[in-house]
């Protein structure tokens, strides 16, 4: 299986001590690395207000992990661990690689277009625009 990219967000009870959150993160990280995956990013957003009440909490401690893995059971295992943990009140995994691929493709297309465009279009715009290609043209060749 090709490698996939996931966003894993989970919310802990706001009263959870910091060490315990770190512990959860490290166990998750272990689970990922065991399966030949990688944690690209670890972000602790800290306690923030949630948009609605979750298990009677109005605030939650948000943690974001960006996980890269090519094994299919990774996410399954991560979610199982989060489900088991009492401190975690909510979690979500989002597969991101498709979106990122699309983003990259669009970006490349835009760059290609931008590279193709400058000479014919710029003089048509205005005088300040017309001065630029004169300066830019010598740089290109």
């Amino acid at each position: 299986m090709e490698e996939r990219l996931y966003d894993l967000i989970f919310i802990c009870r706001p009263a959870t001590p910091e060490e315990e959150i770190d512990k959860i993160i490290s166990t998750l990280e272990n689970a990922v690395t065991e399966r030949g995956g990688k944690v690209d990013k670890k972000e602790k957003w800290g306690a923030r207000k949630m948009a609605y009440r979750v298990m009677r909490h109005r605030e939650g401690y948000y943690v974001l992990l960006v996980v890269r893995s090519s094994q299919s059971d990774t996410v399954h295992e991560l979610e199982r661990r989060l489900k088991v943990n009492d401190a975690v009140i909510k979690y979500m995994t989002v597969r991101l690689d498709e979106d990122m691929k699309r983003q990259k493709r669009l970006q490349q297309r835009r760059e290609r277009k931008a590279a193709r465009r400058p000479r014919p279009s710029r003089p048509a715009h205005s005088h300040p625009g017309a001065e630029q290609p004169a300066a830019a043209a010598p740089q290109q060749p």
């Binding site: 967000i9 919310i11 948009a51 609605y52 009440r53």
Partner: protein
């Protein structure tokens, strides 16, 4: 032959009079409406009356539409009608390739008070970006970054 003399003296408007008189009445509105558009001023009152007996009603209706577009009454209408500013997709302007669900502050502008996603006919978002936006909002809702209903 009064018609011919008129033709020579006044180049454009009377040309239609003989045509309209000779041609069958069914064709009259067609023949008339075409030349009426470019110069709406002179021919209209003179022609409208003689044909008002039978199909005159149709003829006038067809005719009156032309000049309105061209200018006389149309000018007033155009000014009276309110001009709507063309809406542009905000994401297209910023060249957005991916709408991040982890930034609820940005998404908040695209939901209504009660948490509904604002339709794109109101925000002007293009269809592609609206799709991405809806996806992002739904993800954000799922993880309590954005409300499902009103903010409590």
């Amino acid at each position: 032959m009064p018609d011919e003399t008129k033709n020579e003296s006044q180049p454009n408007p009377p040309q239609e009079q003989p045509k309209a008189a000779e041609a069958p009445r069914a064709e009259a509105p067609h023949a008339e409406s075409k030349p009426a558009e470019p110069r709406p001023h002179s021919p209209r009152p003179s022609e409208g009356r003689p044909r008002s007996e039978g199909r005159g009603g149709d003829g006038r209706g067809g005719e009156s539409r032309g000049p309105r577009d061209a200018g006389r009454e149309g000018g007033k209408r155009g000014r009276r009608g309110f001009f709507r500013k063309k809406k542009v997709c905000r994401f297209c302007v910023d060249r957005v390739d991916y709408i991040d669900y982890k930034k609820p502050e940005q998404l908040m502008t695209f939901i209504q008070e009660r948490g509904k996603i604002v339709p794109r006919r109101i925000t002007g978002t293009c269809s592609r970006h609206q799709r991405w936006l809806a996806e992002a909002i739904k993800r954000a809702r799922n993880i309590a970054l954005m409300p499902f209903g009103g903010v409590r």
